[in-house]
C-alpha cells in the first residue's frame, strides 16, 4: 500500500473520529455484542479508535508490526483478557474489532467519492489490518487457554502422587489415575526421596485407583519397584482388583519377584511382619 493511502486513512480517521465512533457503537448495539454498559463500550471503542488512528499514521500498516503498534496490541491484550474473564466467547471479542469495518467503509465511501481506485486500496488495507487485529485477540484467547491447561496438568501431577507414612519405616504410595511415563517419573522421584527422608524399608504401592494396567503401566510399576530396591527398600504392590489380575495374566506380564496383595490391609500386615511388629487386641479388663 502506498504511503498516500495510509496518510489518507489516518486523515479520515482523525477528522471523523466522533462520527465513526458513533456509527460503530450503534453497530455494536445492533449486533447485540456489547454486554458492557454503554459508557464502558464507548470508552473502549474510543480508545481503540484513537490507537488505531495513531498507529495507521505511523505507517507499517501492511505488516502491522513494529513499535508504533505495541500500544494497539497491549490494548487488545487487556481487552481480550477482561472479556474472557467476563465470559465472552473469542468470537464475540473478535467481532468487536471486525464490527468497525462497516462504519469505517461507509465513511471511506463518502470521503473517496468517485475515486474507485483509492477507495479499493483503502478498503483492502484497512480490512486486512482489522482482520489481523481481530485474529490477534482470538490467538491470545487460545494462548491463555493453553496456559491454563498446562498449569492444571502440572497441578494434577503434584496432586496425584502423595507418599504417606503408614508406620515407622513403612511408606504407602496410593496411585490414582493412569500411569504414563511422565507421572511414573514423578512418582518414582517422590517415592525415592521419601525413602531417603524417612529411611523406610518397605513401600506399599497401592493401585486400586489405577483404572487399567496394560503392559506399559506394568513396566512402569516394575521400574519403580526396581529403583526402590536399589535404594534398599522392598516394594509390595497392593489393591489389585480382579479384572486387573485377569488383564495382567492375559497380557502375559511378568511381575517377577514383586510381592502382590489384594488389599492394602494385607500388604500392611506383611510389612508389619517384616518389620517384626504385630498388632494385638487389647484385652478388656
Amino acid at each position: 500500500m502506498s504511503a498516500t493511502t495510509e496518510r489518507r486513512i489516518a486523515q479520515i480517521l482523525t477528522d471523523n473520529e466522533s462520527e465513526i465512533l458513533a456509527a460503530w457503537l450503534k453497530r455494536q448495539q445492533e449486533e447485540g455484542r456489547t454486554r458492557y454498559d454503554d459508557a464502558e463500550a464507548r470508552e473502549k471503542s474510543a480508545h481503540f479508535l484513537k490507537l488505531f488512528a495513531a498507529a495507521v499514521q505511523h505507517g507499517n500498516v501492511e505488516a502491522a508490526r513494529g513499535p508504533e503498534w505495541q500500544d494497539m496490541y497491549d490494548m487488545l491484550g487487556d481487552l481480550s483478557k477482561s472479556r474472557a474473564q467476563l465470559g465472552f466467547s473469542p468470537t464475540e471479542t473478535a467481532t468487536f474489532v471486525f464490527s468497525l469495518k462497516q462504519p469505517l467503509f461507509d465513511r471511506f465511501r463518502r470521503e473517496f467519492g468517485s475515486d474507485a481506485q483509492g477507495l479499493a486500496d483503502a478498503v483492502w488495507s484497512s480490512s486486512t489490518l482489522l482482520d489481523k487485529l481481530g485474529l490477534y485477540t482470538t490467538e491470545l484467547h487460545q494462548k491463555r487457554r493453553e496456559e491454563v491447561v498446562i498449569r492444571q496438568q502440572q497441578e494434577l501431577l503434584e496432586l496425584s502422587t502423595p507418599v504417606v507414612e503408614l508406620w515407622d519405616g513403612i511408606l504407602a504410595l496410593p496411585l490414582i489415575g493412569t500411569l504414563d511415563s511422565a507421572r511414573t517419573q514423578v512418582v518414582m522421584e517422590n517415592l525415592l526421596e521419601r525413602i531417603v527422608e524417612t529411611s523406610a524399608k518397605i513401600a506399599i504401592i497401592e493401585i486400586t485407583g489405577v483404572p487399567t494396567v496394560d503392559t506399559l503401566v506394568a513396566q512402569h510399576l516394575l521400574k519403580t519397584v526396581a529403583a526402590a530396591r536399589l535404594m534398599g527398600a522392598d516394594c509390595i504392590i497392593s489393591g489389585i482388583r480382579p479384572q486387573i489380575a485377569q488383564t495382567i495374566v492375559h497380557l502375559g506380564v511378568d511381575l517377577g519377584s514383586v510381592v502382590t496383595k489384594a488389599s492394602l490391609a494385607d500388604a500392611f500386615r506383611v510389612a508389619l511382619h517384616r518389620s517384626n511388629l504385630t498388632v494385638t487386641k487389647v484385652q478388656a479388663s
Binding site: V196, R229, M231
Partner: protein
C-alpha cells in the same frame, strides 16, 4: 594413580566411593577388592555409593560384577546409599542389578550383613 580405599571393619570390608567413578578406577577397584577379600578372608563387603552422582552402564555393570565376584569368594556384598537419581538412571538403563543386595545407608547395610552372616552360621551351607 588414584585408588579407592578399602577399609577393614571386623570381618567386613568397607568401600566408600567418594569420587566420580571412571572406567579405569572401577576396574582397579574390582582387582583390589577381590584381592583384599582373599587376603583378609572377609565375610562381607559394603560398597557405599552415597557420594556417587553419575553412573553409566559400565559402572553399573561393574558394580554388579563386583558383587557377583565377592559372592563367589564367600563374601556377601551390600550396595548402600544409592542416590534417588542414580537409582532412576540405572533402572532407565535397564540395569536393576538383580543379584545385588541393597540398603539405604551404611548402618542398615551393616545390620543386614550381620544378620545374614549369623543366619549363615546357624543354618550352615545355604549356598554361600
Amino acid at each position: 594413580m588414584e585408588r579407592i580405599p578399602i577399609l577393614k571393619i571386623g570381618s567386613f570390608l568397607l568401600v566408600s566411593i567418594q569420587v566420580d567413578m571412571h572406567d579405569r578406577l572401577a576396574m582397579s577397584l574390582q582387582d583390589d577388592l577381590t584381592a583384599q577379600i582373599v587376603k583378609t578372608r572377609a565375610k562381607g563387603v559394603l560398597i557405599d555409593i552415597s557420594s556417587l552422582e553419575l553412573v553409566d552402564s559400565f559402572i553399573g555393570r561393574t558394580l554388579g560384577n563386583i558383587a557377583a565376584m565377592s559372592r563367589i569368594l564367600d563374601a556377601q556384598t551390600v550396595l548402600v546409599g544409592m542416590q534417588p537419581a542414580v537409582a532412576i538412571t540405572l533402572v532407565e538403563l535397564g540395569m536393576s542389578l538383580p543379584g545385588v543386595q541393597t540398603a539405604l545407608n551404611v548402618d542398615k547395610g551393616l545390620a543386614l550383613l550381620q544378620s545374614a552372616i549369623e543366619e549363615g552360621d546357624h543354618g550352615a551351607g545355604d549356598g554361600y
